[in-house]
């Protein structure tokens, strides 16, 4: 380890570290603009110049590797003079409009100008002017403030993998921008270019002129809009979240957030359920009487005739735990589930462990993988920050393969995409498995097997498509078998990863929001009904009361027709935050709090347990969901045992030790992938081949998949209406033009919706989104019959 002296203090650092990194380790701040710890070194701002003994000129500390025995000064006269010079250069063409700049008060340029800037300018010439750009609904530009540090360019090209930002022109006319005047940024990570901009050139458009940086208070949040669980800073003022920024976290999100996590916050305040209400009783209802009514409904039927469906997203682990606790112990029913999109429940009959249900490779390790096989998985639009790690691996040369029903819009370098018709996955995966013993070099499956066999750190990922697949359990077993063959279950490296994209669904699994397991993977004497059985029973009148904890199964579940019938038929108690199709006709509404309005524990796809702080108060008459359940349980003979959140957390930690965060010091983070090995040795069944005709596949809509995101007007701008995507040749057969309205028909059911022609869609498959506002394609589904075979006609 090289040892060097910085400002008289000695430090040893890892070989290859830069002076900047060594200084950081020592706690010495070296001013900088272009340097960003998570981006490649550019060395252009020249602010981090330091003096190194025996070197004739000052050197940039961000790029200079340390040598043993180096003597560095970060504050000598030479350094100070050099920095003053750089500072003057940066300021001569800067508009100095700090009073009207969003970055004012938290601007690197402003801060360092206080220390190194001249108090008056020697610049008598005209200041340079740059045009601004229209970058779409997320980013506001004021390019005269740009100091050409190229962080945005480096972020876009290296991290996000989209070459949307660049520098045009040379010298003092070098313009940073999107090459053209108007370009709506397509990257799902675009917001980061504003956050990483050290000055006020790129600003967050929804935050524009909303607050000054120094007025904002920050609450440490955990994002639950997908299952990665990024660490956020929820910045608020006057009880309103004004913006969401990232917190640096090497284990999870580095320094980044995706657009969904960053811009969804305005969905917190739109279409809220603000107070309790009871159907057919207009006017304000007290909490007391609303609860009484709810308890009456539940107590009026047999415990077996009650069922609960929870949406893990939007709820802390505390509430999920309290939900199942309430149903199992106060009500006495085992009909509990959170999986409204799963079609294949056969995995419930075998005792799957936590390792079978979550990721076994941590996000950080994912970046070091040397091969990856994505099965029914589109990480870029399911779990963007996980995709970023895969992209890092791909840039380092990892071999990348995927198996999906369509070509992905990917930014993974060298991803070889295999596309099979829905239902053909089993055959393909069997061929991969066989390829380990005798690989057919010409076939795609053979190549995948060969690459996985040769790799040392392979990862296999199952995504949404695989998890929602009618043969999900067979696919999972095959994936486990492939992982085993690839020697990725060897104790040192576990490469099997099941990625459920729904935020906090890991907590729902851990804490028993499933019919066949109690909290902490406790086995039960008898299993309750799963979500399919619950909705079927409710539709037939067998289940009489449905308790919904958030979510909108009427538009989100796989078989929306069945769910709607069930909701119409049964009495519905809705504990939630936003008005939607499921709350619309609820008999009792108990208004809850959304994330950010309460302290909540969130478990991410790695199984890592984190706790987010409360930022703002919710609507005045709404309450934390666990309190609602606790108060409701008072009306039963066995009320819940905890009266405060600490007691609830203790109960939760007793059920599952991973939820005991009391041992963690400040800034410490709970471990990832803290679970037993994957269950192996289960034979995969033969898959059902899809029948002829057109097959419909429904996917989650990235920007719309959760109550908060769905109600965000910013995110709504990023979604291009409701539509289904269809192959050009299929469209031509029916004379369907791009954007034309079509009727999709499956048996008795039909749906009218706009069709988009997309050449990435293979022939014979139509893709739609969950929860689309006009034309709900899941209406064509029959939960138990797999992919619907449909016909399509132009209207």
């Amino acid at each position: 380890m090289p040892t060097l002296i910085i400002d008289g203090k000695e430090i040893s650092v890892k070989p290859g570290a830069t002076i900047m990194e060594a200084a950081k380790q020592l706690g010495v701040y070296i001013p900088h603009f272009c340097y960003h710890p998570k981006l490649a070194i550019s060395g252009n701002c020249r602010m981090c110049l330091v003096e190194v003994e025996k070197m004739p000129r000052p050197v940039i500390s961000c790029a200079m590797p340390v040598n043993d025995g180096m003597v560095v000064s970060t504050n000598s006269e030479m350094v100070t003079e050099a920095r003053k010079g750089v500072m003057e250069f940066l300021l001569i063409n800067h508009p100095l409009d700090c009073p009207v700049c969003d970055q004012g008060g938290e601007c690197s340029l402003q801060d360092l100008a206080m220390k190194y800037g001249p108090d008056r300018s020697r610049y008598r010439e005209e200041k340079r002017q740059f045009p601004n750009y229209d970058l779409g609904p997320l980013i506001e530009t004021e390019m005269n403030r740009c100091i050409q540090c190229t962080r945005c360019i480096r972020f876009s090209t290296e991290v996000a993998g989209v070459e949307e930002m660049g520098a045009v022109g040379r010298g003092d006319h070098m313009k940073v921008g999107p090459y053209v005047e108007k370009l709506t940024l397509t990257s799902e990570m675009a917001g980061n270019i504003a956050e990483s901009c050290p000055v006020g050139a790129l600003n967050l458009k929804p935050f524009h002129f909303q607050a000054r940086g120094w007025e904002l208070k920050n609450a440490d949040g955990i994002c639950d809009l997908c299952s990665v669980g990024c660490q956020t800073s929820n910045d608020y003022l006057d009880n309103t979240i004004k913006r969401v920024m990232s917190r640096e976290c090497d284990e999870i999100n580095l320094s980044w957030l995706c657009n969904k996590g960053r811009f969804a916050y305005d969905g917190l305040t739109a279409n809220r359920l603000e107070q309790p209400s009871v159907k057919d009783e207009p006017g304000t209802i007290s909490w007391q009487s609303a609860m009484d009514r709810a308890a009456e409904l539940i107590k009026g039927v047999k415990p077996d005739e009650v069922a609960g469906i929870a949406d893990p997203s939007g709820h802390g682990a505390e509430e999920l735990y309290a939900f199942q606790d309430f149903l199992r112990n106060a009500v006495g029913t085992g009909n509990i589930d959170h999986r409204t999109r799963i079609q294949d429940f056969s995995g419930d009959t075998v005792k799957l462990t936590r390792a079978d249900l979550m990721m076994n490779t941590s996000l950080a390790d994912m970046a070091t993988a040397d091969a990856a096989f994505l099965i029914g998985c589109d990480p870029r639009f399911e779990t963007p920050l996980l995709n970023l790690r895969l992209r890092q691996a791909s840039l380092e040369g990892a071999r990348m393969f995927s198996l999906n029903p369509r070509q992905l819009n990917t930014n993974l370098e060298g991803l070889k995409q295999s596309v099979v018709h829905p239902g053909g996955e089993i055959e393909f995966l069997n061929a991969v498995l066989a390829g380990f013993d005798k690989a057919d070099a010409k076939s795609e499956a053979g190549q995948i097997a060969t690459a996985l066999k040769a790799s040392e750190r392979p990862v296999i990922l199952l995504g949404d498509y695989a998890n929602y697949h009618p043969d999900a359990e067979s696919i999972r077993r095959l994936a486990v078998a492939i992982t085993g063959k690839a020697s990725a279950l060897n104790g040192k490296w576990n490469g099997f990863n099941r990625v459920a994209s729904r935020g906090n669904s890991a907590a729902a699994q851990d804490l028993g929001v499933v019919p066949h397991r109690g909290a902490g993977y406790k086995s039960l004497d008898s299993s309750g009904k799963n979500s399919l059985e619950i909705f079927k029973a409710a539709a037939s009148g067998e289940i009489k009361v449905l308790l919904l904890l958030g979510g909108d199964p009427a538009t989100d579940a796989i078989d929306s027709q069945l769910v709607k019938t069930a909701l119409d038929k049964a009495q519905v108690i809705y504990i939630g935050t936003h008005t939607n199709q499921s709350s619309k006709n609820a008999d009792v509404i108990l208004a809850g709090l959304a994330l950010g309005e309460k302290e909540s524990t969130i478990t991410n796809c790695e199984g890592r347990v984190q706790r987010g702080q409360k930022a703002v108060n919710g609507p005045i008459e709404s309450k934390e969901q666990w309190r609602i359940l606790r108060a409701l349980s008072d009306r039963f003979s066995q009320p819940l045992s905890y009266n405060n959140i600490e007691a609830l957390r203790l109960a939760m930690a007793n059920a599952d030790h991973r939820y005991d965060l009391s041992e963690l010091y400040a800034n410490e983070i709970a471990p990832a992938c803290d679970h037993s090995p994957v269950t192996t040795g289960l034979e995969a069944a033969n898959g059902k081949k899809a029948k002829g005709g057109m097959t419909l596949v429904v996917e989650a809509s990235f920007y719309q998949d959760s109550s908060v995101a769905k109600n965000s007007s910013t995110l709504a701008l990023l979604v291009d209406g409701s539509s289904v995507q269809i192959n050009p040749e299929d469209a031509a057969l029916q004379s369907i033009a791009d954007g034309q309205k079509v009727r999709l028909i499956s048996g008795e059911k039909n749906v009218e919706i706009k069709a988009k022609i997309d050449k990435k869609v293979p022939k014979g498959v139509i893709f739609g989104q969950f929860g689309s506002t006009e034309g709900l394609v899941q209406d064509l589904y029959n939960w138990e019959e797999g992919f619907p075979q449909i016909s399509i006609v132009a209207l």
């Binding site: 070194i41 550019s42 060395g43 252009n44 701002c45 020249r46 602010m47 110049l49 004739p56 000129r57 000052p58 940039i60 790029a63 200079m64 590797p65 050099a82 010079g85 750089v86 003057e88 250069f89 940066l90 001569i92 063409n93 020697r122 610049y123 008598r124 010439e125 340079r128 100091i147 050409q148 190229t150 520098a167 022109g169 040379r170 010298g171 003092d172 006319h173 070098m174």
Partner: protein
């Protein structure tokens, strides 16, 4: 001073000197054969012994540069010839490429053999259309005759050579800017370290030499490093091409041994200063980036790396711009400062902002709008640029300004005070 040794220009007066046939008449490509019978270390040692310093402007010893290429690196190694001759006043490489391209190719074959590169590029200035055509033809001839490609000279040695035409950016003559451009990116110099010898083109170890340097290699192999080292003077060995332009009677490229007195070079080779030696105002000795030397220095200075450096300028590319007394120094430097503003790549702060600022002040002074303090401000800006940039372009932009203020401050003062030129 020995007799007029001609190395690079020895054949250029022959008819069709650019053809393979004519080049071979005089023992062409024999040196490549000879080098390949030597060990690579011996070839590098021979070049080290010759003491030839890089002719592109920086004057870094070529043999030493070659020896930096790591032997244990498994990545492909590259040899790049810097033919992006863009320094104002310089036109020497152009004559080599135009009249004796095979000498360059042979030099590259030897260099590639010495450093273990199997692929080479000639990055040629985009404006050199004819030269690029001639080189293309010469490369084709070399391939046809087994001097390039697989199994060179019947041995298991491979060297492929291709031409890449630049887009006309001065900064692409900077070696790492050139590499970026060659890789298809915007021509912006890279932060060093790492140096190209370790991580260069496509991430591989890379040697980049100037045309003149590489073209001198065959004669070093032919006559030995010691012979070459004895030409010229201590620490500035060999012959050098000087491009003499400006107010001389016979402007042109001249090959002379280093160390020749500047006055001799101008008076005897370039036909003398217009209006006689006493009409001389000053000489920019090594391309526009070098500081101007006033006449009293020119009277005695010799043309070698150390003497010119001692006089406060640099030998650079050897492009001498001779200015007689009709020249307004402020106007001349104003034009140069506009050039540097235009050519700054814009990547790093001091050069991006500083060259623009200097140019604007120079224009103001030239237009009679200079104010008191401008001259000191120019020097102060220059100080803030020098030594603080990614590449040498910043220093190059400061050179003519700082040098001319040092030598001709009175002209600047006159300009500021009177709002017009001292001369004319």
């Amino acid at each position: 001073m020995s007799s007029k040794v001609q190395i690079l220009f020895k054949n250029i007066h022959k008819k069709d000197s650019h053809t393979y046939k004519v080049y071979c008449q005089d023992g062409g490509y024999k040196q490549a054969e000879r080098a390949m019978s030597m060990s690579t270390e011996d070839v590098i040692d021979e070049v080290k012994r010759a003491g030839i310093r890089g002719r592109g402007g920086a004057g870094f010893p070529a043999g030493l540069k070659w020896s930096f290429i790591p032997k244990d690196n498994s990545r492909d190694k590259y040899l790049v010839c810097n033919a992006d001759e863009g320094e104002p006043g310089t036109c020497k490489d152009r004559d080599i490429m135009r009249y004796t391209p095979h000498m360059l190719i042979e030099g590259m074959v030897i260099a590639a053999y010495a450093v273990g590169a199997e692929r080479g590029y000639i990055y040629i200035r985009g404006e050199f259309v004819r030269e690029a055509e001639i080189l293309e033809e010469a490369i084709k001839e070399a391939y046809d005759n087994g001097r390039l490609g697989k199994n060179i000279n019947g041995k298991k040695i491979r060297f492929d050579l291709a031409i890449h035409r630049g887009g006309g950016a001065y900064v692409c003559g900077e070696e790492t800017g050139l590499i970026e451009s060659l890789e298809g990116k915007k021509g912006q110099p890279r932060v060093k370290p790492p140096f190209p010898a370790n991580i260069g083109l496509w991430g591989g170890p890379t040697v980049i030499n100037n045309v003149e340097t590489l073209a001198s290699v065959p004669s070093i192999i032919e006559n030995g490093g010691e012979w070459y080292g004895n030409l010229g003077v201590e620490k500035s060995s060999g012959t050098k091409l000087f491009s003499i332009s400006g107010h001389v009677n016979k402007p042109g490229n001249y090959e002379v041994e280093l160390g020749i007195p500047m006055k001799t070079l101008i008076e005897e080779y370039a036909g003398g200063v217009r209006g006689g030696w006493d009409n001389l105002k000053g000489v920019i000795p090594g391309g526009s980036s070098s500081a101007i030397l006033p006449k009293d220095v020119c009277d005695t200075v010799t043309m070698d790396y150390d003497a010119i450096a001692k006089a406060g300028s640099m030998l650079g590319s050897g492009a001498m711009i001779v200015l007689d007394k009709s020249v307004c120094i402020v106007k001349a430097v104003e034009r140069l400062s506009r050039f540097y503003r235009h050519e700054s790549c814009g990547q790093c702060t001091p050069c991006r902002e500083g060259t623009g600022w200097i140019s604007q002040i120079m224009t103001r002074i030239e237009n009679g709008q200079g104010v008191e303090g401008d001259i000191d401000l120019l020097l102060s800006i220059g100080d803030n640029i020098s030594g603080k940039t990614i590449c040498a372009l910043g220093d190059a932009a400061v050179g003519p300004v700082a040098g001319s203020i040092k030598a001709f401050r009175d002209e600047y003062i006159y300009h500021v005070e009177h709002g017009r030129c001292m001369v004319g």
